[in-house]
Subunit: 276 residues, 2 copies
């Protein structure tokens, strides 16, 4: 990415895309850090989930979403989905030209490497992300001496979508996934939340793991990363957000509240058709 | 369905299709009841899950799977998926001509109505099946005086796919879903397992609900239903099963063991391409 990344129109929105609603945790973090910016959030709800699709299909979807965001004259594109970041980054960059494209893998990796002291990093993600080895490769590419403990936490996606984020059930599920990694003397001191659904378990994870483990939230990491490449607005106004989905705005707006801090109404969400 | 249903070649296989692996519980029940028959199981793993797709899309998929099974000269088609049964039955029947097509909704409904004494039937299913009202409509169409308690149990699909079918976590999840319905004086005496993933929780459900609640397993119900329409083989040999999938035979064969009673090897499973 070059200094050219900073020449785009100040008033242009930032584009954020995801297969569905998980990426709203990323939008939430971005809005927290850059409230003056405007955003276009594009959720490809007709074709979710991406995790079970082939890399080629995910790359094709990422390309079509990038094209859609380009039509909205965005000044940066955030791929707010780990699967799409893993398989769709190249396709998105090829289409975006000089517009910066930021995925989930690199920002979280950089932040984790900055904060780890013992060089042991845990990665919790979906089965597909863990299987792709995306985080392992990204970490070892920079620090080949790191130790990495990946764990596929598929059930947490279902819990997040059901809105069961507190209480005995998510607590037991987290223990079952993480105890084998953290109940050791040489446990990770840093844990990447490698799925955009997982920040809604952040309080519970802190409670279970204690203060000695640093949690890396992809949205927070992407915000830090973006601040290096974006000219921040200095105006006093809050920016606005446009929501686009490829299926059922009502269901999207109902489910959004689990991942986002504002209540959406169905009329805030526009249904669009995407080919490709 | 007419007597013509019985004229097809004795040696032709029975076709079974599903969006993925859940339908294997149906195949397991069919093989238990009709071990002499041969089967073609077709799992549309490239396009799963169906639950988040529009009814029109699911109907189109069901049509393409029906066509694929017709190429295999099947003598009956079992739609081993509640979503595809709800939205794809008409499309499948239109293509199948005289070949009987049996879905999940009608057999389970008939069995439930046969066994209920208090006329109160519980239905546990995915969010999509509950939202479609398929069981409610089917039951009330026959017995308008029935009371129905539907409950969307989305987390059980994730638990089934993770293979967590016993122990505290699935037990707590089942209690959370079912206690509001069953901890009453006028609780259902019959519970339809309205998702083909759910039979793997049958022992746990029996343990939680006790003997006073009859569980209706879709595969068992479909087998009973099929026996009215199928000329049973009288030969001594076991039939064989051909497995076809639209994506990743290795993952299918690995995951199949949770839902099926035989261990599949990747070479037992053939990858096919389906357009439509």
């Amino acid at each position: 990415m070059t200094q050219n990344s900073k020449i785009f129109s100040k008033n242009a929105p930032i584009g954020v895309f995801d297969s569905g609603i998980g990426g709203l945790t990323v939008l939430k973090a971005l809005r927290h850090h850059f409230p003056q910016e405007s955003y276009v959030y594009l959720g490809d709800t007709a074709r979710l989930p991406y995790g079970t699709k082939s890399p080629e299909t995910v790359a094709r979807y990422a390309a079509s979403l990038t094209q859609e965001l380009m039509k909205q004259d965005v000044k940066a594109i955030i791929i707010a989905c780990n699967t799409a970041s893993t398989h769709g980054m190249e396709a998105a960059k090829a289409l975006a030209g000089e517009i910066p494209v930021i995925g989930m893998i690199d920002p979280a990796t950089h932040t984790a490497l900055k904060v780890t002291k013992n060089g042991h990093i845990g990665v919790m993600a979906t089965f597909g992300t863990i299987k792709s080895g995306a985080y392992t490769k990204a970490i070892l590419n920079i620090r080949p001496d790191c130790r990495i403990s990946p764990v596929a936490c598929q059930m947490l996606v279902a819990l997040a979508e059901e809105g069961w984020t507190d209480g005995d059930i998510p607590r037991s599920v987290i223990h079952r996934y993480l105890d084998p990694i953290f109940q050791h003397n040489n446990a990770p001191d840093t844990l990447i939340l490698g799925c955009t659904h997982f920040p809604i378990f952040e309080n519970l994870l802190k409670d279970i793991l204690g203060n000695s483990v640093m949690l890396i939230n992809s949205g927070e990491a992407a915000s830090l990363y973006l601040s290096d490449h974006l000219e921040i607005h200095q105006k006093d106004m809050m920016g606005h957000v446009k929501f686009l989905v490829t299926d059922d705005p009502v269901r999207f707006s109902e489910n959004a509240t689990k991942f986002y801090d504002e209540r959406l109404k169905p009329e805030d969400v526009t249904l669009i058709d995407i080919k490709g």
